[in-house]
């Protein structure tokens, strides 16, 4: 009975509590320790005294007290103390109002700080904003729990040791820093898309929340809205991505009735208002591509010609393996398999050697072009590289057909 309450509080408020406490003390590790101690106290006291009216404010008060004790013990430098003193004052307001400001956006900027390694940014966001553990995250990032744990600890030590500022960058640096935040959020979404796991609550949900935080804070930044739209489009297909036996279903074969119309409409709105801001970028182009796919819901067909144009634009801005292969696939549909193969031939095969979608797409195009033997070889390659069983199984069926 109590466990769900605490779980809900953690799920909904963990990031806000960390952001609020850490932006004042700057020591995220200490803050996380204080919070988990507060949660242990809650597990002991709430069954006896009942759940407080504002569980968040209660946890904040207890965690803050722990934090102050820890500070005293550690006898840290003056700056940190000033932070704690300020926190004590503002905590008074919190107690009175039962509310505290949502400063998670600052936490996002810290997590995506250029001084932190790119590979740790998305995991760090999931850990600090949602309380996910190294064990919960590791698999999605294809590393062991121990490695992920070390990376997170090291990053948290750097945040504290380098005294990274918990604030929103201003001026020239904002665009670049916001770009890093958006990239990391998209990575966080990407890992959940690759391997939807029911056991860990959908990681895509977290990425969506983070994109919403950014959009709330920066309603005038088109790329934030572009990313939000992109995630909404992709999320709208959650139910269609697997068939009733859990098998992978590629986009072109998905049953559109399984798409979530409400999410698609939300995505359309976000994308429209993003484009209206007049500053196009990678995520708006990516969202536009997904918008074309989504319109199959109404038109019953995919407009491959438009997709080719959008891919060309996107490639100028963001020439990643995914974009290049996606473009080749679109051109293959629009102008025939030979044209798709020609696009793939322009790419550097050495660089794409380990990229599964490259081999799957090449196999598909070769199959359509009637080159069955070569197609089989490509599917074989793709099968070896596929990171999840559903995709592997789908490729195997192509191979046998």
């Amino acid at each position: 009975m109590l466990q769900p309450v605490i779980e809900r509080v953690v799920r909904e408020s963990y990031g806000r509590l960390v952001a609020y406490l850490a932006s004042r003390s700057r020591d995220v590790q200490l803050v996380e320790d204080a919070l988990s101690e507060a949660l242990i106290v809650a597990l002991k006291e709430w069954p006896v005294q009942g759940v407080p009216d504002s569980p968040e404010a209660w946890l904040l008060t207890v965690a803050r007290r722990r934090l102050v004790d820890a500070r005293r013990k550690a006898d840290r430098e003056e700056v940190a103390w000033q932070g704690v003193a300020e926190m004590m004052r503002s905590a008074e307001t919190v107690r009175q109002e039962g509310e505290f400001p949502d400063e998670r956006v600052k936490l996002l900027f810290v997590c995506a700080h250029p001084a932190l390694d790119e590979s740790v940014r998305a995991p760090l966001m999931l850990s600090l904003l949602f309380g996910l553990t190294a064990e919960e995250i590791a698999g999605s990032f294809l590393v062991s729990s121990a490695t992920m744990g070390q990376r997170l600890v090291r990053a948290k030590q750097r945040i504290q040791g380098l005294k990274l500022k918990f604030d929103v960058p201003e001026g020239d640096r904002l665009e670049e820093r916001l770009g890093s935040v958006l990239d990391a959020i998209y990575v966080a979404y990407g890992v959940s898309w690759e391997e939807p796991r029911e056991s860990v609550r959908g990681l895509g949900e977290e990425a969506l929340q983070m994109a919403e935080i950014v959009v709330r804070m920066f309603p005038e930044e088109g790329e934030g809205k572009g990313l939000l739209a992109l995630i909404l489009y992709l999320k709208s297909r959650d139910r269609a991505r697997r068939d009733e036996w859990g098998q992978y279903v590629p986009l072109s074969e998905q049953v559109v009735d399984l798409w979530d119309r409400e999410l698609i409409l939300k995505a359309e709105n976000e994308l429209k208002s993003a484009v209206r801001l007049g500053k196009l970028g990678r995520f708006q182009w990516e969202a536009s591509i997904q918008s074309v796919h989504a319109s199959r819901l109404w038109t019953g067909a995919t407009d491959w010609g438009s997709l080719c144009v959008l891919y060309d634009e996107l490639m100028h801005l963001h020439c990643s393996a995914g974009v290049c292969v996606g473009r080749a696939a679109a051109r293959g549909e629009a102008f025939g398999a030979r044209e798709g193969l020609r696009c793939l031939a322009e790419l550097d095969e050495v660089e794409l050697q380990g990229y599964q979608p490259y081999w799957a797409t090449k196999g598909h195009l070769l199959e359509q072009a009637g080159e069955r033997d070569e197609a089989r070889n490509c599917y074989q390659m793709a099968i070896q590289m596929a990171g999840n069983e559903a995709v592997r199984e789908w490729l195997r069926r192509r191979l046998e057909s």
């Binding site: 250029p114 001084a115 932190l116 390694d117 740790v120 750097r158 040791g161 380098l162």
Partner: protein
């Protein structure tokens, strides 16, 4: 003549800075070294550095800024600080470097300071 004594430390030395069992000996060693330099009248500056896990390496290539988490080079011994000493000649500087605690475990590198302007 001014020299820098660059203190190159092993990972163990860096970790003994915070290890309760070893920090006394570690910091005591440097305090004594520093004191000896002052007494001899050769101390001319210097600073200790935080460990390489807090290093950030920056490169600018064209209009791209490449910021990397970590030190410039991944070597076994890493720069942990430096002393500036004012002594008669290289021989004297080497004598001081040999007394640096890091010389016994990691290394101490001696480099003449490049004096700018008319000399």
């Amino acid at each position: 003549m001014k020299f820098a004594v660059l203190v190159y430390e092993t990972a163990e030395e860096f970790s003994s800075r915070k290890d309760e069992a070893k920090m006394g000996a570690y910091w005591g060693g440097y305090a004594a070294y520093n004191e000896a330099m002052k007494m001899a009248g050769v101390a001319a500056g210097g600073n200790a550095l935080q460990p390489p896990s807090l290093a950030t390496t920056v490169r600018v290539r064209g209009d791209r800024r490449l910021v990397q988490d970590g030190p410039f080079s991944e070597t076994k011994e890493q720069l942990g600080g430096l002393f500036v000493i004012d002594v008669l000649d290289l021989d004297a500087a080497i004598e001081w470097a040999a007394k640096c605690p890091s010389a016994a475990l990691g290394a101490a590198e001696v480099r003449p300071i490049l004096e700018m302007g008319p000399s």
